[in-house]
Symmetry: C2
Subunit: 225 residues, 2 copies
DNA sequence: GCAAAAGTGTTTACTCTACACCCATGA
DNA sequence: TCATGGGTGTAGAGTAAACACTTTTGC
């Protein structure tokens, strides 16, 4: 019917957060094109795997990371986006918890590194566009879906959550109002555990109750910062 | 490097609105698989065209329609979604104005028809999922972006806009509050033209000022119903 | 006992909601 | 003059924003 010679790849923008810094996972390309340049991890989709499997496989192969949250971001199909020919890429958007920060390089990557999203290197292909879009999505989405918790440890002090939002939204937050609002959504369980950060009063730990969130969402309750 | 045999297609969910009814454009398939069944218009992407061009070309070929608003919806890549083999489809979401309702069938389509989204026929492939997602997107998006105007005539009475929102949101709206809110966004120009709908007081016509909207959006003003 | 971070309520401004009558036209 | 849809304001409720002191711990 037609002689299509388009290839399909997936790319994954993976974000991590720690100590007031949002980082993105990049690899240094081992082969041409853009050999030695930084890029978003990704690769070709195999004939029999789902797109999500392809993303997870490529991330595993290139960086060894285990992803905590994954969603489709956007598909990039400009005919000129890849010098090797027509390669359409379906980009994904992933989040990992701080303890998943251990990474290693292999297959197509000579190095893997976390980059502060405010100090990014030059990127290969159209990956700068992809990353820009992913950052916008992250910033937008944390205001109307509780995905911020996927960037924190399972048990976290309230101040960590607050600092994450301050970092992502780029503006100050009133501690009392923020706490009131989050608590009012009724999706956090307060634990009987405390954690001390060196100095100051130890903080109570909280845990995001995903089951309760989905229950409330079904009932029409809306999460909005 | 790899022997990928994935094909890439685009599909377009096109919505139209008239008289309190949201319709979607479907084609009846002329060939196997699913010959004689209804489907969302779409087809394979050519090697050298952008994805948007592919969508517009397929819509032109199959239905003759001119689209007014187009955005990417989601990419569907389940290996089993098409009995012909591995076909990944990038779905788009389009809106047309009422006067674009004239359609004709050709190429892959034996018939083209507008279906009320509340009275849909059985669909081919995974098109029911695609359509469901598109409907959710439409319903969600009109509450935070002014895309509803793309479904109305360029000049429209306020009551048309209100009826559109009532239809899409599936709940009643207070006429005074709705008008106040929309007016307060300052993206409508009130024209010195009136239109009469047979009986009753003639309504003033309004026009969406897209340029002003983008200006205000840049300044951080948020459209939200 | 002091430095550092955690925790907590109240008042005020603003936004959203509910609600009913008059207006302009065609038949 | 009546039927039909268009156009308009205000009061009360609810939500969001501003704001400062006390508590608990480590050193």
């Amino acid at each position: 019917m037609n002689k299509q010679s388009i290839k399909l790849s997936v790319d994954a923008v993976v974000f991590g957060y720690e100590e007031g810094i949002i980082s993105v996972l990049l690899i240094k390309r081992k082969y041409e094109p853009f050999k030695g340049k930084w890029a978003i991890p990704g690769g070709f989709v195999l004939n029999d795997e789902t797109l999500e499997c392809a993303v997870e496989r490529e991330l595993q192969e290139e960086t060894g990371i285990k992803i905590n949250y994954l969603e489709q971001l956007y598909s990039f199909g400009d005919p000129e986006r890849d010098p090797r020919g027509r390669i359409v890429s379906i980009a994904y958007f992933g989040l990992v918890r701080p303890n998943a920060f251990k990474i290693f390089a292999s297959t197509d990557a000579s190095e893997v590194e976390w980059f502060n999203i405010k100090e990014l290197p030059e990127l290969s292909f159209d990956h700068e566009n992809i990353l820009d879009l992913a950052i916008k999505r992250l910033q937008g989405k944390i205001t109307y879906e509780p995905i911020g918790f996927e960037l924190l440890d399972k048990k976290f002090p309230f101040s960590d959550l607050e600092k994450l939002y301050v970092t992502l939204l780029g503006r100050d937050i009133d501690r009392r109002n923020f706490r009131k609002k989050i608590i009012s959504f009724n999706v956090l369980d307060e634990l009987n555990e405390k954690v001390s950060k060196g100095s100051g009063r130890p903080a109570n730990l909280f845990q995001f109750n995903k089951k309760r969130y989905f229950q409330l969402k079904k009932e029409g309750i809306i999460f909005e910062i």
